[in-house]
């Protein structure tokens, strides 16, 4: 509602030759809010706790409402009868009926707007964090890569909106925006493939791909509003009903993006063990939902292999990783209080936190694994900078000797109950 309200107001007050730039303000605000909101929320959550962040968000919403009531000049008030809920729904249904008969509107909707939003929610917000985690990227790196999308949108929106306002040619801008979006997704899909491997080139491919997708969506988000506002249909029923209906129907893309990656029965020919490798080497509890994937093959691989259970956990994981990157930081902090390591370790090792046991961390080597890796249990009596130095060196030595060993690190804080299971009589007799 806020989104539609802002859009209506901005389009109402903007001069005709600056409609696209006006729409870009919404894009700036939305993407800027996503980027800064994640960072601010991340920082605040450790001070205010989740409840405090929600209270603060509510206070901001209240301030926005007061600002709107007191300072935003109103349009000429409709008659009371026209302002009723039933009347509004009736108008919406009528507008939907009219736009459904417009080929131009439907083409814009289903070939530009809906795919762009589906890519945002399905690929960038949902699938990409899982794929990146599966490739061993740490949550903060995942967050940074996802933020590149928002930065790309903001960076391109200003240029694209001025271009559209200057030339009035929305079709060309939208075409190239859509085409570039596809090319960006291809680059993202190359991550971890045989073509680029799993090293630096893979990172370059995914970063470039995300930036290209972000930039291309900057060529879509604001210009598409101008496109429908200047359509033949808008001339018949008015720009506001068309743009409002467009924004409403555009939500189909948000939903479709997730549904496209949704549950699908696993075929008999699929090797389920690909996702059942012991202990997903993911750094954080929300990432544990992703499971380990031998090779990221892009969204198609996601679609064929994510089962319903993982989908549910995956959605939760994405929400935690993206909308609350603060949770990632907070979870980081929970482990970081006692388990830290030097630079470069995470290039060779997966650091996996156990969500249910914050005093457990699993460290396993990246790359090809042997069938029977060695297992090493490391007991910390408490956090210490000495142990940070020591574990870093131990991992370096094991890596240099190419010993396939999985480390389980436990901070038992001198609590017998925590360490006793590992020194039990049963353990004594096992190897």
């Amino acid at each position: 509602m806020l989104f539609i309200g802002i859009q209506s107001y901005i389009l109402a007050v903007a001069s005709p030759e600056k409609k696209t730039q006006a729409a870009a303000i919404i894009v700036f605000g939305f993407q800027g809010g996503m980027i800064s909101g994640m960072a601010i929320g991340s920082l605040l959550v450790s001070y205010l706790h989740p409840q405090g962040v929600f209270v603060l968000s509510g206070a901001i919403g209240l301030a926005t409402a007061l600002y709107t009531i007191l300072l935003v000049p109103g349009e000429k008030h409709p008659k009371a009868a026209d302002a009723s809920l039933g009347s509004a729904i009736g108008r919406l249904v009528r507008d939907l009926g009219q736009v459904a008969r417009s080929g131009e509107f439907l083409r814009t909707m289903f070939l530009i707007g809906v795919p762009a939003k589906a890519i945002l929610t399905g690929a960038v917000t949902f699938a990409l964090p899982l794929l990146l985690s599966g490739q061993g990227y740490r949550p903060e790196e995942v967050g940074q890569i996802i933020m590149l999308y928002g930065i790309g949108v903001v960076a391109a929106s200003g240029f694209a909106s001025r271009l559209v306002d200057k030339t009035g040619d929305t079709e060309t801008v939208l075409f190239w925006g859509a085409a570039a979006s596809g090319m960006g997704l291809v680059l993202v899909g190359l991550m971890g493939s045989a073509a680029v491997g799993t090293g630096l080139l893979s990172t370059v491919a995914v970063v470039t791909g995300v930036v290209v997708v972000g930039l291309s969506h900057g060529f879509i988000n604001a210009p598409v509003v101008t496109h429908v506002a200047h359509s033949e249909l808008a001339g018949q029923i008015g720009a506001t009903p068309v743009t409002t209906t467009y924004r409403f129907l555009e939500r189909i893309g948000h939903v479709a993006g997730l549904l496209d990656l949704g549950p699908e029965p696993t075929g008999a020919g699929l090797d389920r063990r690909r996702d059942d490798r012991a202990r997903a080497p993911l750094p954080h509890q929300q990432s544990a939902a992703a499971g380990s994937r031998g090779r990221a093959g892009g969204c198609i691989a996601m679609r064929s292999n994510i089962d319903a259970f993982r989908l549910r956990r995956g959605v939760m994981a994405c929400v935690a990783a993206l909308l609350l990157s603060g949770s990632a930081l907070a979870q980081d902090r929970a482990t970081a209080k006692w388990f830290r390591y030097g630079a470069g370790v995470d290039q060779s090792w997966h650091i996996a936190e156990d969500a249910t046991r914050p005093f457990h961390v699993t460290v396993s080597p990246k790359g090809d694994r042997s069938r029977s890796p060695k297992r090493v249990l490391v007991l910390y009596p408490r956090p210490s900078s000495a142990y940070d130095i020591a574990i870093t060196k131990i991992l370096q030595v094991f890596r240099s000797k190419t010993i396939d060993a999985e480390f389980r690190v436990i901070n038992f804080e001198m609590d017998d109950k925590r360490a006793r299971p590992f020194a039990s009589p049963r353990t004594r007799n096992s190897t």
Binding site: L379, A386, A390, I394, I403, F412, A419
Partner: protein
């Protein structure tokens, strides 16, 4: 990892099936976990040690300050392993050679900052009685976490008395540093422990056959920034063999912690 973990496992898992390698732990012989340094444990334990033999440490100390009169030993009295393997041995060694030992024991680690401020100030006053210009006195910081984390407090109250640490990592960039570190760095110890662990995992050796892992010679760390501040001369051979060196601006100019090979 750490003397406490080693002691816990020693009490609860000695003779178990899975090999145990100690890391960042203090001297197992002085702690009664091993008979001697060379025989091996004959159990599932392989020990390494963070400690440098006291004779070796005192050799360096005597070279640094040939006419040493006062040695203040800073230790957390609740850290039994630090008291037994670091503080008491060097204190005994120094007393035997006529050096006045000032025992600076922190009673409550949670209040180490407050306690150390007073301990160090009082120690300096005591030192001045026999060493008015404080050129023949030293503070000796043991490997007690609660103590070495308060290096700033120690520096603030130590006047121009050199603060020497048994933990090389306490010598670091900037002003909050000991002037000299003589000991086995955590990194060197972990390197040796990792080699022990790797060799055991690939069944190259049995843990019970391994002698106590001691890194030799010890790591030396020097802060020339702090040395110039207090007017301390650093023997040239210290500089030659130092693993960590920080220049007059407190910047790291040498960092070669590990001097071991795999053989």
């Amino acid at each position: 990892m750490g003397s406490e973990s080693t002691a816990w496992l020693y009490d609860n898992y000695r003779g178990g099936a899975i090999p145990v390698v100690s890391v960042c732990s203090k001297d197992p012989v002085q702690l009664g976990q091993m008979k001697d340094y060379t025989s091996g444990s004959k159990t599932n334990f392989a020990f390494t040690s963070l400690n440098v033999p006291v004779e070796v440490q005192m050799t360096y100390v005597k070279e640094l300050s040939p006419d040493l009169k006062n040695l203040a030993v800073l230790v957390d009295t609740k850290n039994v392993s630090a008291v037994q393997t670091q503080a008491e041995p060097i204190a005994a060694y120094a007393r035997q050679r006529g050096i006045q030992v000032i025992w600076g024991g922190v009673q409550n680690p949670a209040k180490a900052r407050e306690e150390l401020g007073q301990i160090v100030r009082e120690a300096v006053q005591t030192m001045r009685k026999s060493d008015p210009d404080l050129t023949k006195s030293l503070f000796w910081v043991t490997g007690s976490t609660s103590v070495f984390l308060e290096i700033r407090t120690i520096n603030e109250n130590s006047d121009r008395v050199p603060v020497v640490s048994m933990i090389p990592e306490i010598v670091r960039a900037g002003h909050e540093t000991a002037v000299l570190g003589i000991g086995i760095s955590f990194e060197s110890n972990a390197h040796l422990a990792a080699i022990y662990g790797a060799d055991i995992l690939v069944r190259k050796v049995n843990p019970g056959d391994l002698k106590v892992g001691l890194v030799s010679p010890p790591d030396i760390a020097i802060s020339f920034l702090k040395a110039r501040e207090i007017g301390m001369k650093v023997p040239f051979n210290f500089f030659e063999t130092a693993s960590f060196v920080y220049d007059y601006d407190g910047r790291a100019v040498r960092s070669i912690a590990s001097k071991m090979s795999d053989n």
